[in-house]
Symmetry: C2
Subunit: 180 residues, 2 copies
């Protein structure tokens, strides 16, 4: 699949250490209720890079804030090295911005490693704000192992008797997806 | 609605300046294809806080990375002041961790303002890593006005002829939701 080929070619340093998982990408992106959406950039055959006409991709999904409603998150934006500097990244951003506006999103967010100066300069030039620098937002993460520890924890003695449920009307049971 | 009452009471400084929008919360969270999911914490009537038995909420949604697949994002975790220190936040985290594991998520992510020391100490004590401090991840944002500028932009002269479309099989047209 062209998308998974493009993902396999993404060559930012830390990314090379992780192997994309084709079965997961296929099951989670190409079902009736996908976890993500993706745009691909295709050039005419005569402009193919290393024999590929799919030369970039942009993976995104919708997010939400209680305060401003819908938002869009750009998870990945990748263009093959040989095709950079030719407006493809900017065209991806333009399309993503269109999608955000059409879907009433209040903002588009994404994260970038502070050492990735070329990407940061690109986004700043397009008008993005560095919210970590401007307001002090920090990204936190629990990895799988830490989640397993949390899930298995016991309530402390001082915990109030309480009931935690899905807010009325929200589908609470786990999402059933194709298994892989 | 109890959820919107709880959201209205969330009292972190910057949040007070923004008004939640009930119609949007209702349309986007309580439909067949919600933008977010939410847990609420309910205490027995005899332990009500300021007459409320719904004393906290946790808003979350599923996200995705090309490298590790499904992930979960915790957008908001709020407990009324009077009910803090009684294990409710920890129980929310435990349930969220369970949901993440049941849905094969590789991680749980969220952002916190660096000045919000009580929250940061809570999450670090539970085992979260500060990825901004540890690896240099910065959060970037385009606001609505900047998105409108991007969407209206013209391609530069050096742009390759190209076609940007949804990756085959992904639903490309804008999501149609109830209008509000």
């Amino acid at each position: 699949m062209a998308l998974m080929g493009a993902v396999g070619r993404a060559d930012w340093r830390h990314v090379l250490e992780t192997t994309p998982h084709p079965r997961g990408l296929r099951a989670d992106g190409f079902s009736a209720d996908p976890f993500y959406k993706c745009l691909v950039a295709e050039v005419p055959a005569e402009l193919a890079c290393r024999g590929q006409t799919i030369v970039g991709y942009a993976m995104y999904f919708f997010t939400y804030t209680a305060w401003k409603g819908r938002a869009l998150y750009l998870e990945d934006l990748y263009v093959m090295d040989e095709c950079r500097g030719k407006g493809i990244g900017g065209e991806f951003l333009r399309r993503i911005a269109e999608i955000a506006i059409q879907n009433k999103c209040s903002s588009l967010q994404f994260v970038v490693l502070n050492e990735n100066r070329p990407s940061i300069e690109f986004y700043i030039a397009k008008g993005a704000d560095d919210m970590t620098k401007a307001e002090g937002w920090h990204l936190f993460r629990f990895e799988r192992e830490q989640l397993e520890g949390l899930a298995g924890g016991k309530p402390p003695p001082e915990q109030l008797p309480l009931d935690i449920t899905g807010a009325p009307g929200t589908p609470f049971p786990p999402i059933s997806r194709e298994k892989f």
